[in-house]
Structures are given as C-alpha cells and as structure tokens.
Amino acid sequence: MSTTTLFIEGTYFAASILFVLGLRGLSRPETARRGMFLAEFGMLLAVIGTLLNRDIISYEWIIVGLLAGSTIGVAMGLWVPMTAMPQRTALSHAFGGLAAALVGVSEFLRHGEHLGTFKVTALGFEVLLGGITFTGSLIAFAKLQELVKGAPIVYRGQNVLNLLLFSSAAVVFVMLVLTPANTWLFYAMCALALLFGVLLVLPIGAADMPVVIALLNSYAGLASAATGFALGNNVLIIAGTLDGGSGFILSILMCKAMNRSITNVLFGAFGSASPASADAGAEGVMREVSVDDVATQLAYARQVVFVPGYGMATAQAQNAVRELASLLESRGVQVKYAIHPVAGRMPGHMNVLLAEANVPYSQLYELEQINPEMPTTDVAVVIGANDVVNPEARDNPKSAIAGMPIIEVDRAKSVIVLKRGRGKGFSGLENPLFFKPVTGLLFGDAKTSLTRLASAVREL
C-alpha cells in the first residue's frame, strides 16, 4: 500500500467515524450542530481523499461539476423557505438517486460484459434503487409543490400494473446477473426502474408523501451502499446504510403515528375521495365565534395550548402564532404548543417552523406529554390542523383513521379552531370536533386570524 493509498483509506475511515458521530449528535438539540460540523468535516476529508485517486486523469470536469453543484446547493440551502422543506427534501432525494444511478450506469458502460456476478449484482441494485428514487422523488416533489394534483391519482388495475412492472424489473435483473453479456438487459432494467418510480408514487396522496419520501430516502441510501459494494468502498457502505436506516425508521414511526400499515400508505390510495359512509354522525351546527370573544377568552385564560397543523404551514402563520403567544405570556398566561408526530407534511415539520419563529423548544410538547394536561387547559387553539385532532380516530373504530393517536383538544375546557372554511383534512373525513358544543370556529386564513387576534388582545 503506497502512502497515497494509505492516506486515501485513512480519509475514508475517518469520514465513516465522523458520520456516525455526526448522527449521534442529533440525539440532542444542544449537540446537534456540533455533530453536523463533524459530518461536514468527514465529507470534506472523503472528497479530498478521492481527489488524490490515481484513476483521475483530468480535473477540469470534476471542478465544473463541483462548482455547479456548490452554486446550486448554496442557493437552495440559503433561500428555500422553511415552509417548502418537504418539497426540497423530495427534490434532493431525486438528485441523490440520480447520482447513484449514473455512477452505476457509467461503471457498467466501462466494464460491460466483463463484470463478475458479484459486481453486476451490486451495480444492478444501485441502478434499480437509484432509478426508482430518482423518478419517484420527482413525482413526490411535483405533488408537494402542487405541480400535479396532490390527491391520489387512481385508475383501475393500478396495483396489478405496478406489480407487473416490479416483477418484470426483478426478472430482468436476475437474467442480467445470469448473462451479463446481454447488455440490453441492463438498459431495460434502468427504464423499468424509472417507470416504476413514477407509477409507484402517482397514486399516493400528497399528505402521505412524507412516508414515501422517507422510504425513497432509504432507497437512496441503499443505492449508495450498493455502490460501496461495487467499488469495494466501506465509507459508501456505511454512509449509505446509515441513510437507509434513517429513512426506514422514520417511515415506520410515521406509520405508527397514523396507525396505518406501510402497505396501506403505499397501495391504499388513502385520502382519495371516499365521500360519505362512516361519517354520517358528524353533522350539526358549527358555532362561529368572533375575534373579540376569542381574544378575551385567551387573555384571561390560565393555560392556552396551540395545536398547529398543515394549515399553519400553508398560511405561513408561525410568526403570527409566536407573536400572539408572546402577548399572552406577557399577560401571565401559560402557553404551550402540542405537536402531533404527523402534523403537517413531514416529520418534525411543525417543530422547525416554530423554531424558525423563535419559539423555544422547551415549550413544545409531544402527544403523550400534553394529552394528560388537556382537561386543565382553558383554551386549545387549533391552527389549521384537522386529522390530528379528529376525535373519530379515538371514538369510532370504523373510521378510516381509527386508532391513530390524536391530540385530545376536545377534552379542553374550550376549543377554538382556525380554518378557512369547511375544508377537510388530508384524510377527507368530516371532523365531529367542529360540531361539538365546546368548539368555536374562527374562519379565515390562519395568519390573518392570528394577527387580528393579537391586535384584539393588545387592545384589551
């Protein structure tokens, strides 16, 4: 082993350790940033090590790529608004999948039929997973960005078609491994993977995208790991596996938080129409309340709990919430925020938005912590959340969301719901909460309503 090789190997080894340390840092907010610095340093080392690789003949194109990527990366990193995080994540998984797939393709181009079974298998996985991730993530991005309609796109025989597609990809893969000389099989597999990515994600509703994104994250990671096997490179295997694990765990956590199986999310076309049936009971009068009434209630409460949901994100109302909360606090009201694990459109979505608005995380409470406090809460303010506070999930075992843990705002002394109209949540279900005597509705865009509430409180 020459000194250079030793150095390169050393950077990879160090990078592996630094990645693990980096992710470990994320176990506490206090150590998270430092952890990320370690990971960044690891990445830098690995890149420097790679640049010394003997196989590299010319650097110009590498530099072009690095510069172009950095420019776009910096732009995206600095200017993407926090509310657009779900889309951004989807888009960058697309890039990740693309990169992995392209490396695989070019390796195959280069060695073609001379690859051994092991390498072909690894490359096959790489390209398959990379391809699915690429197109699947693009569709997820389009849905979240509302370039295509967010609701599930369903047609007859969909699941059968997808299954067929998947099996043919698998068959082609096996044939390729058996006869690597038939290079067309490789390209057929690429095409199938790309198509499968599209068709897999199309029928899934926008609000279920987070699960899909996490899964695609996991695929992207596994594609990197496969690259690692193909190149015999451990840091790729480690980093890829860590990512794969992360995506997998997050998708499991989300499914648990919705009490739905991963199959239901992927193939259930959840949130598509289904008007009627089970929610017959949820009729009645909605009690509309005025801004002044609510302001008085809030100002004289002992404890107020804000329950943000997807509507807060679309209305970009996080700062308005925080302002109202500060006003209330200066009047001696105890303010807390209740964060449901699947509120919004990605895991931790609400936490990030509120952090952006400067809400300290000691005021954010998880489901299990806040529910016992509900009966002693004077006012629960639901800001553009719907499914995550739907008592049907708890009370009606026949409901489509039965068994999903909810934030039990209906146990509070008074509930105020901020929403624009009679719109439903992602699930498409009616929410009996809105018809309960304890609930008052304040219609209007969440941000506008909150700003008006704040002025009203100020004038009290």
Partner: protein, 99 residues
C-alpha cells in the same frame, strides 16, 4: 472478490444495527433536520462520481460523471447548509426577540 464481499457484509450489517440504534435516539423535535442531514450524507456518492468524471474512460462516462458530481454536490452543500440553518433556530429557552 468473495473476501471483499464478506468484509462488506460485515460492515453493512454492523452499520445497519448502528444506524438503527443511533437514529432511533433522535427526538421527533429534530426529525426534519435529520432528514436533511442524512440527505447531505447520502451525497457521499460524490466520491464515486468524482472518479467517474475525472478518469476519462470515455466521453459518455465523463458526461454522466459530471452530472452525477453536480447532483451529489447539490445534496452535500445544500443539505449541510440547510441542516445548519435549521439547527441554529432551535433554542431551549426564550432568546431575545429577533424579528
């Protein structure tokens, strides 16, 4: 080749276990930064792309390599910047109002 495979499998399995342990300790509070962090880290495929882009095996390979380098770099740079931007926002206690 089989020894490389075996070694790779050990690394893979250990990393999978380790990933499971480490990630499941990340609190829900930080799940969004986690997604963006793993996204940045998955940009490690950069090191495969760089070689492809620079080795000049043939023209197509180089073009694919450059695209791959660009895509992976976007993830690395964008991902880390974004993660840090988010993490900077998380504060335990009330800081001075910054509005």
């Amino acid at each position: 080749m089989n020894e490389v495979l075996m070694a790779g499998l050990y690394v893979f399995v250990l990393a999978a276990f380790l990933g499971y342990q480490v990630i499941s300790r990340v609190p829900p509070l930080l799940h969004t930064p986690l997604m963006s962090a793993t996204n940045a880290i998955s940009g490690i495929s950069l090191i495969g792309s760089i070689v492809t882009a620079g080795a000049q095996y043939n023209r197509v390979s180089t073009i694919l390599g450059v695209i791959a380098v660009t895509a992976a770099t976007i993830n690395v740079v964008g991902g880390f910047i974004l993660t840090d931007r988010m993490l900077r926002m998380f504060k335990r206690e009330k800081g001075p109002e910054t509005k």
